[in-house]
Amino acid sequence: MKRSVSILIAVLATGGIALGQGMSPADVSYDEYGAVEVSLSGQPGNAEAGEKIMTTRGKGNCIACHQVDALAEYPFHGEVGPPLNGVADRYTEADLRGIVANAKMTFEGSIMPAFFKNSGYIRPGIAYTGKAAGPGDLFPILTAQEIEDVVAYLLTLKE
């Protein structure tokens, strides 16, 4: 928990995170259950933008694995992960942020890819090219703000 404290201090000291910036993956602090309290971008998420990310293949592509009834206008949802209906009733904002950023911190060994991570991979490639990623080629799959947008969308999923 040392790191989260120091980030908090940094945030307080600089009067918050500047617009358009955000944490880098190494700065994210997960609690012992994998939750992340602080907004990664320092800005609120936009649920509408989140919906777009959830349904775009090169982005979150969440419906590739999860059923989301509220997204029925985008046909064919996957079955690999649990349905996300009512997910906001089951998890807090911090839980959801942690799961989207790196689900393995919450569910050990989860098949779900980490969307806010850029190191610690075996044979990483440059996006979907199959070519080896050199130093500087690896970016989180979603940006800090995109994670916040997805979390904002997930928080609308109440039953």
Partner: protein, 286 residues
């Protein structure tokens, strides 16, 4: 169908939701594959002993929609057979500096029936596990004096389709003991290794989630008994190492090269997971 143990809750939720997102019509899970009304394929059977997490093995044919399945049930409807015909012509064509053909040594493609079923295979002389493609190139370069065929190029894929076609219906039976063991172990390690930025192993999709859909694609067990495969997606024959490459790329990982020691090892391991299924190539998949 072929759903592995799911909790009741998840199962019900999936069914209810599935009703309105419009799910794929997948054929009857008990459907049997008989090609041309005569070649009976084993599309489901008991898993080989070495498999720890799977009881029953299924051909990828089982997971496809009825219309796709039908394309493989008659050689005329199977576009892959177009290239089997081409390879049969190549087989009897004299070429190279000495004007030799495949036929000079092997009387007919049918004389090679059964070969597909036992590859990849330990090659005593070379001291490595050889794929069928390696063996074809050994013939091309050493016996016919040709330049090696490109590993996943069309001439090679066509030839491998021809050799598969004459073994159709025979059970896959690759050896994994003796000197092939080390290669097999490497293949197994690669199968379970989570690579790329999506940190996915072969097993994550094809052992833990077969019978589940990603978007509308139903995940198969990743069996390779049907290769080369005519895919509706790209409307051509696909070599098994090309398919490996595509899958690895989709995990945002650096791929291995077709014909590399790693892909040969993975092929041996995957083939061994299908020991007992029928040789189906050229098969039809989506």
């Amino acid at each position: 169908m072929i759903k592995r143990a799911l909790t009741g809750a998840v199962c019900v939720a999936t069914l209810v939701a599935g009703a309105f997102v419009g799910m794929n019509a997948v054929a009857d899970e008990h459907a049997n594959l008989i090609v041309n009304g005569e070649i009976e394929m084993v599309v489901r059977t008991e898993a080989p002993e070495h498999m720890e997490n799977v009881d029953t093995i299924y051909s990828g044919w089982v997971y496809r929609a009825t219309e796709t399945q039908a394309l493989q049930m008659d050689d005329f409807d199977n576009p892959g057979m177009l290239w089997v015909d081409q390879a049969a012509e190549y087989f009897e064509t004299a070429q190279g500096p000495e004007g030799r053909s495949c036929q000079d040594c092997h009387e007919s493609p049918e004389a090679l029936a059964g070969v597909r079923a036992v590859y990849p295979k330990w090659d005593e002389e070379r001291g490595v596990v050889q794929t069928l493609e390696n063996q074809i190139n050994e013939c091309a370069t050493e016996r016919m004096g040709l330049e090696p065929l490109k590993y996943t190029g069309s001439e090679m894929v066509n030839m491998s389709a021809l050799l598969a076609s004459v073994s159709r219906g025979m059970p896959i039976n690759v050896a994994i003991d003796g000197p092939a063991r080390e290669t097999w172990e490497l293949g197994k390690e690669l199968y379970y290794q989570r690579t790329g930025q999506l940190e996915l192993s072969c097993a994550n999709c094809h052992e833990d989630n077969y019978g589940n859909r990603i978007r509308s694609d139903m995940l198969s067990q990743g069996q390779i008994n049907g290769f080369p495969v005519y895919r509706l997606k790209n409307a051509k024959l696909n070599a098994v190492h090309s398919r490996f490459k595509g899958c690895v790329r989709d995990t945002r990982a650096q791929t291995y090269a077709p014909g590399s020691a790693e892909f040969v090892a993975l092929e041996l391991y995957l083939a061994s997971r299908g020991n007992g299924l029928s040789v189906e190539g050229p098969s039809v998949r989506n």
